[in-house]
Symmetry: C2
Amino acid sequence: MIVQKYKDMLQGKSVIRQLSEFATARGAEIGYENVFDYSLGNPSVPAPQKFTDTMIDMLQSRSPMELHGYSQSLGIPTVREKVAESLNKRFGMNYTGNHIFMTTGAAGAIAHAVRCVTQPGDEILTFAPFFPEYQPYINLTGATLKIVPANVEDFQINFEAFEEMLTDKVMAVLINTPNNPSGIVYTTETIQKLAAILTEKSKEYEHDIFLISDEPYREIVFAGTDAPYVSKFYSNTLSCYSFSKSLSLPGERIGYIAVNPACTDAEYITSMCGQISRGTGHNCPPSIIQLAVAEVLDLTSDLSVYETNMNILYKELTSLGFECVKPGGTFYMFPKTLEKDAVAFSEKAKKYDLILVPSDSFGVPGYFRLAYCIDTEKVERSLEAFRKFVKAEY
Amino acid sequence: MIVQKYKDMLQGKSVIRQLSEFATARGAEIGYENVFDYSLGNPSVPAPQKFTDTMIDMLQSRSPMELHGYSQSLGIPTVREKVAESLNKRFGMNYTGNHIFMTTGAAGAIAHAVRCVTQPGDEILTFAPFFPEYQPYINLTGATLKIVPANVEDFQINFEAFEEMLTDKVMAVLINTPNNPSGIVYTTETIQKLAAILTEKSKEYEHDIFLISDEPYREIVFAGTDAPYVSKFYSNTLSCYSFSKSLSLPGERIGYIAVNPACTDAEYITSMCGQISRGTGHNCPPSIIQLAVAEVLDLTSDLSVYETNMNILYKELTSLGFECVKPGGTFYMFPKTLEKDAVAFSEKAKKYDLILVPSDSFGVPGYFRLAYCIDTEKVERSLEAFRKFVKAEY
């Protein structure tokens, strides 16, 4: 019989998707170029030319059997080794290919990491504001996601609330830095303090507490920002990465888990992920994409537009009276709304063709998210709409 | 803490993988061309040239943003529509794009289909001989796979045993036709009888019993074989397909579920699969591969070599005294071993550089599987090895 649980989930409409659909419909009326659609976190810059060239070259020169054959279930060995080398070089780590498990993007990475270190019934903590997809990612594994309230002063970690919630039932902590939706990057001090608490509590509870570090925005960090490599500070770290944002390849579903070589049972974890795959039907990201990405590991798309856009918006919004913690990376910012009810605020903004996501689903009331992965020219044109909106409504 | 269940699974070594590793090691000694490796079911013919040409053309002419952008979570709408049209034309069905859920190969399809129609604790029946991966595919969802003993006369269905095992706890039946490992294709009569029993028992138990039809070998059917399209015979059918074999693209992880438009809750099932994906981390097959496959839906690789190989082997093996049900498709055959103990038989064959998979893990003792997806020239050279083996050992 049809499983009711999944049927019931169809009722829950994503606020972001609804806003995006509104933007598309409004675009059909007035031209999409006139809708200031800040709803969706899709990269707005192309993949590096070398990625395209590599794909074409492989298709022209390699045998289809070699190119499209089964990957081993943990990933193509040469690709895993190249990922390890690149991380070692950039972050001073000591990964080998055996510590890398290739995944279908960050979603695949988190699905495996969570199953690896939690049993149904265990708790996982994450910090508000947080990516709403974490709820189904985690709850469908049988573990329970609990949300530590935000530190609204600077969107670093609210350690007081965290220590209260870090009970014996917590087997993993999930962090996302640079952060969606706040754009904040956890500082070295934050990561050090987090690591110290996890180390102490692991001892006290006599079980490991794993840190699952979701890092799809790792390459999008703005000038002057302290952006530590999380795994360097805590051994029991599983780093979950996606090339979706750094190489602008969200549809090609490619990422990895990097297992800290000093973590508990480090030698088994990627193989365990391979076993987990048999139940999730994961069976590796596409071979040709693995091979192509391995050739551009140290490149990124031209990500500078995101910082340009952030600076324009930050300046204008703060001068209009918005309170906002300045982002250190990503293509998001998370200002305070000008009235308490973020949904009402977002609703009013629509009248000015400003599509802004209210913050409630991110676990903090009274804020809104701007995804400024759009053309700079459009960002500039949107400023007048913000001015009109604020003047007329507040 | 590390989850012991997955760590324990690392102990279970796949017989097929061990044999394949032996073949590789032996190949290093005597040259791989001299090892008659019938262990692995990997396609031995290239993808159609049009697939490669389409990929290159898209990479050269389309914008990277369009090509590599997020696919919707159920698949790219135009791709889903083209799959539906192709199936309707070929099999006289009435699918729309809404009945198609794009998956990362057959493994992804089965992982979603099972979660859609069974709860943890429910039973699923399949028929021996069966693909051993079904065990982890199903058991890791929480459902329990039970194996109906083989009908060794012709490897059609053992209906007597099936009816005994088809209790109220069974929520789905999983079939694989054309079959790995037997190469047998279920006849129209078999499918009709199966459908009649499922219909009757669904009424008796007052709940749906879904048919999950795993069809990666659907395009590899030999001359004169009756190969019905399963879903035409039973409304509550979820057809699970992979392009791995038909287009020789196993590494690119692309397939789909086609939901019979007359099945219970047909209008919800693909959307439910989208919800399931959020927990499995599936999130769609790669965009570029979806787009390229949609252009070659009615093509296949040149699959004729498999029938050529089958005929050569069938003739020689039967003349050597092997009992074998003649395959109607796939690139497998499943003869009876010449002694009761299939593992001992396979072990002796290794002395003649014949790599044959003993049948025990397929759920039937006393047989062996040949995966004849290798060059015909090598098949021909292997005949002398078979003759020597049989003459010396039996």
